[in-house]
């Protein structure tokens, strides 16, 4: 697996978002400490396998960028593998692999996360590499230029040549006017092309500080030992100035917004519909999370059962809600019509499901099923040390890993009346966003094999 990936808030990640909530509600024995320089350290012992997951989450993502320099957070993530005075270019991954480990990183709208999963007795290596690159990146212009080409290739793969990626990007920039969720995590191509070493350095200095990071370690380790190592390896890194807060607040949407994207090479249309909704800070968030599950999780979910199975309108249909988003984000529905069905018919069907939720109470069986699905996903999340560490960090990002203990009871307490209420409150027909991808008229992409035997 190549290092560096992007996890934007996009429909493709619906499942990941849902399962990411999962940490046992039964409070695990997390050892928690904050070093004097502000680094938050969370350790959970899990002795089932002789492995450990070491994860460093920085509180920085594309939401911390500015117009004209979008993609900085993600670009910097790539540069984090390009060397320090102590460890040359590529040395981080090489050392991890040499020690039987796997490492990678991802950037989202809210966070940049680095991880190494490896044999538990190699924990010193993983921690010392993270400590080194927290403040010592080289950021050499030559390496930046070479990596710039790689990031541009990544953007071509994920966005330019991927109809779903393209439409998700268009939806975000349609729905958001003022807030940085407006631009794609990978950044606009022209910004990637232009970003200079000084900007990368300034961004690194502003956000890669112990007081802006969470270290989560889960595995076959002793908590006290990990904390002692963290103190020794990170303790001397000075606290930085508090990073600037994201000031932008998305103004209320006043009318429907709509975009059509014509795409040569696309075989089938795609329809996305979204509404601005509150995040975890709102009392409505658990109901929105449950509603998203009722609509789109599994083959018994409403969208699959009705649009794909019963009415045979859709090849696929689903949805996404970003409970964990640091700022309010979107409640998202999407579908691809079966050949012969129109995007208009599919849009009507998606909106019909929303109207139904507003007007008719959801039967108890559907609510119970969705609650069971969310509850089970919490249990499954404990299966690997990697997912356990990610869950700790994800909740810590919202304020405290202990919020995991409150999440499940809050979801289980949601009633049918709550679901109707949040649907009415947050899905006004006149303030929706609609993005439609239409295959462009062009000569069919005829396969033209020109076999030439060498």
């Amino acid at each position: 697996m190549p290092p560096h990936s992007i996890a934007a808030a996009c429909p493709a990640l619906a499942l990941a978002v849902l399962t990411a909530t999962a940490l046992a509600s039964a409070a695990p024995d997390v050892a928690e400490t904050t070093l004097d320089n502000g680094l938050k350290v969370l350790v959970l012992e899990d002795h089932r396998s002789p492995v450990v997951s070491v994860q460093m989450w920085y509180r920085v993502g594309s939401r911390n960028e500015l117009p004209g320099a979008t993609g900085l957070a993600h670009f910097l993530e790539h540069m984090m593998f390009k060397g320090t005075p102590a460890h040359g270019k590529g040395e981080f991954s090489r050392l991890v692999e040499q020690n039987g480990g796997q490492d990678n990183a991802f950037t989202t709208q809210d966070v940049t996360s680095y991880y190494a999963n490896l044999a538990a007795d190699k924990i010193e290596l993983a921690l010392s590499l993270e400590a080194d690159r927290m403040r010592n990146l080289l950021l050499e212009p030559k390496e930046i230029d070479s990596e710039r080409q790689v990031v541009m290739e990544e953007r071509r793969t994920r966005t330019e040549d991927d109809p779903d990626g393209l439409l998700s990007e268009e939806m975000n920039s349609l729905a958001f006017k003022a807030h940085p969720y407006r631009w794609p995590v990978i950044g606009w191509m022209e910004d990637i092309r232009r970003i200079n070493p000084g900007e990368l350095r300034a961004f690194y200095d502003a956000y890669y500080r112990p007081n802006n990071a969470i270290l989560a370690v889960v595995g076959d380790v002793a908590a006290a030992d990990v904390i002692a190592r963290a103190r020794r390896l990170f303790g001397s890194i000075p606290r930085g100035p508090e990073p600037p807060a994201v000031a932008a607040i998305e103004p209320p949407q006043i009318d429907e917004r709509r975009v059509f994207v014509k795409k040569v090479g696309a075989q089938l249309p795609i329809v996305h519909v979204s509404w601005h909704v509150p995040n975890f800070q709102s009392e409505d968030a658990p109901a929105l999370d449950l509603l998203s599950t009722i609509l789109s999780e599994g083959r018994a979910s409403r969208l699959y059962r009705k649009l794909t199975y019963e009415r045979r309108l859709a090849l696929s249909a689903g949805g996404d809600y970003s409970y964990f988003s640091l700022n309010p984000n979107l409640f998202w529905l999407y579908a691809t019509p079966l050949p012969g069905q129109t995007p208009e018919a599919l849009e009507r069907a998606l909106l019909g499901e929303i109207e139904l939720v507003k007007n008719e109470p959801i039967p108890a069986e559907e609510i119970e099923r969705a609650k069971n699905q969310i509850q089970a996903s919490f249990v499954w999340r404990q299966d690997s040390v990697h997912s356990r560490a990610a869950s700790l960090a994800r909740f810590e990002l919202l304020g405290s890993w202990r919020l995991a203990e409150k999440y499940l009871p809050a979801v289980l307490a949601v009633t049918a009346a709550d679901l109707t209420r949040v649907a009415r409150a947050h899905f006004p027909a006149e303030r929706k966003n609609v993005a439609v991808l239409v295959p462009a008229e062009s000569s069919p992409p005829a396969t033209s094999p020109s076999p030439t035997t060498r």
């Binding site: 396998s49 039987g100 396969t447």
Partner: protein, 432 residues
């Protein structure tokens, strides 16, 4: 309950004395009807994964009906003698579980993922979909339409388009040349009778492995699975034989025109299976060439030249053949240079360029990272069915480590000269 299993000793074919022998990965038993059962308790978390693997992949599709194996698998969960498709969906999802069938080239797997407290229900459903599917006609029409639309949509994806084209080049005249899902031309013509017959002939206990991983004991699994599967008997006749894929197909270059900003490039040739004496040496050689982020391809093509976000190589062994592939995606004007770099690196691998530290890194990674291949219940279940199906032995972790440790510099250079000779690679380029 009658005792249906004979406990078998677990230490199988130990071919060498490994430095440190770990416990076998699982308990192994064979039912009287031939079902092979593997149980790996992982008691700390109250979850269970059950993976049933049946030798019923697309390799058994007849030449005039590609897609039957896949359609059969897709329809297993769409209706049984006990429940309709929607009833099955509701039953499994009500307990937050999953039950998914997935056809591959060699076999079809049905995977149950369920909380421990709901295991009885889950096993009922698993047994139902494997043994008593009804393949309702209306469900079949629905699924055919979905598969057709999915095939059409996959034309948007240059990696799928390219890998299908490569399979056609590497496996001429062999079932591996056909996509598992069938083709746009074939799928619409498939009939219920073909599906019913495929299920009757191919879903047989003596072609089935069931791996159970999680919060269980071997004793309880013996009882609960025996109760549900002991009445299953094999139809008369032997399992069909499938020819091996051709060992040296003609070298062909193909270009597939697509209006994209990137080109997707595949270079491929026949590979080898796990039972080949060169297998572990090629694994090591592959890691050095294109396996990790310290690999030669990653370093030269991505890090130095900035030509690709993804570049890598892989060995894909199957039961009836294997491929060795390098793939990358690069901007349209980068193709020539990227292909030149890749071929140059392929050629260099067999020319005495190997550095000791590269060899040590590859071996250290392959050996040291083995536990990460077993760090979830799902991964353990997948490993167990593969070990059983490909006859790798339940001491495979030790065997794997010992074999990798033995690979020498001379081994790597010898296999690289054979399997990485650029003149033996066919190519597919999808792009402008």
């Amino acid at each position: 309950m009658r005792r249906v299993f004979a406990m078998m000793p677990l230490l199988l074919i130990g071919t060498m004395p490994p430095a440190a022998v770990g416990a076998p990965l699982a308990h192994r038993e064979t039912l009287p009807n031939g079902v092979r059962l593997l149980v790996a308790p992982r008691p700390a978390i109250p979850i269970v994964v059950v993976r049933a693997y049946v030798r019923a992949g697309s390799v058994f599709d007849s030449a005039d009906a590609p897609g039957v194996a896949n359609l059969t698998a897709e329809l297993l969960t769409r209706g049984t003698a006990v429940r309709t498709g929607p009833e099955l969906d509701r039953a499994i999802e009500f307990v937050g579980g999953g039950l998914e069938a997935d056809a591959g080239r060699d076999g079809t797997s049905v995977t149950l993922a369920i909380l421990r407290k709901d295991l009885d229900l889950g096993l009922d459903l698993l047994a139902e979909v494997l043994l008593r599917p009804t393949f309702p006609e209306d469900e079949l029409r629905r699924k055919v339409a979905e598969i057709e639309a999915g095939l059409r949509r996959s034309e948007e994806n240059p990696e799928i388009v390219g890998s299908r084209a490569l399979a056609r080049l590497l496996y001429p005249g062999h079932p591996y040349a056909q996509p598992v899902s069938g083709t746009v031309e074939s799928v619409g013509k498939l009939t219920r009778a073909q599906v019913v017959e495929f299920h009757r002939a191919r879903y047989r206990p003596d072609a089935t492995v069931i791996a159970v991983v999680g919060d269980v004991t071997a004793d309880e699994v013996r009882q609960s699975l025996g109760r549900r599967f002991s009445g299953w008997s094999a139809p008369p006749g032997l399992q069909p034989s499938v020819p091996m894929a051709p060992s040296s197909p003609p070298v062909v270059s193909e270009r597939i025109a697509r209006d994209l900003t990137q080109a997707t490039v595949f270079l491929g040739r026949p590979g080898i299976r796990q039972d080949h004496p060169d297998y572990f040496a090629l694994l090591v050689a592959n890691y050095i060439l294109g396996g990790g982020s310290a690999s030669r391809l990653y370093t030269r093509v991505r890090e130095d030249a900035g030509l690709a976000y993804y570049v890598g190589s892989s060995l894909a062994p199957g039961r009836y053949g294997a491929s060795y592939t390098v793939s990358l995606q690069t901007r349209v004007d980068g193709v020539t240079e990227a292909v030149r770099l890749v071929k140059d690196q392929l050629a260099r691998m067999g020319r005495g360029t190997l550095e000791e530290r590269e060899l040590e890194l590859a071996k250290a990674y392959l050996i040291g990272s083995f536990p990460l291949r077993l760090d979830t219940s799902g991964k353990v279940a997948e490993m167990l069915t593969a070990i059983e199906e490909y006859g790798l032995g339940l001491d495979y972790p030790d065997h794997f480590k010992a074999q990798v440790a033995k690979v020498t510099r001379a081994d790597v250079e010898r296999v690289a000269a054979i399997y990485m000779d650029p003149a033996t690679f066919s190519s597919v380029i999808v792009g402008k």
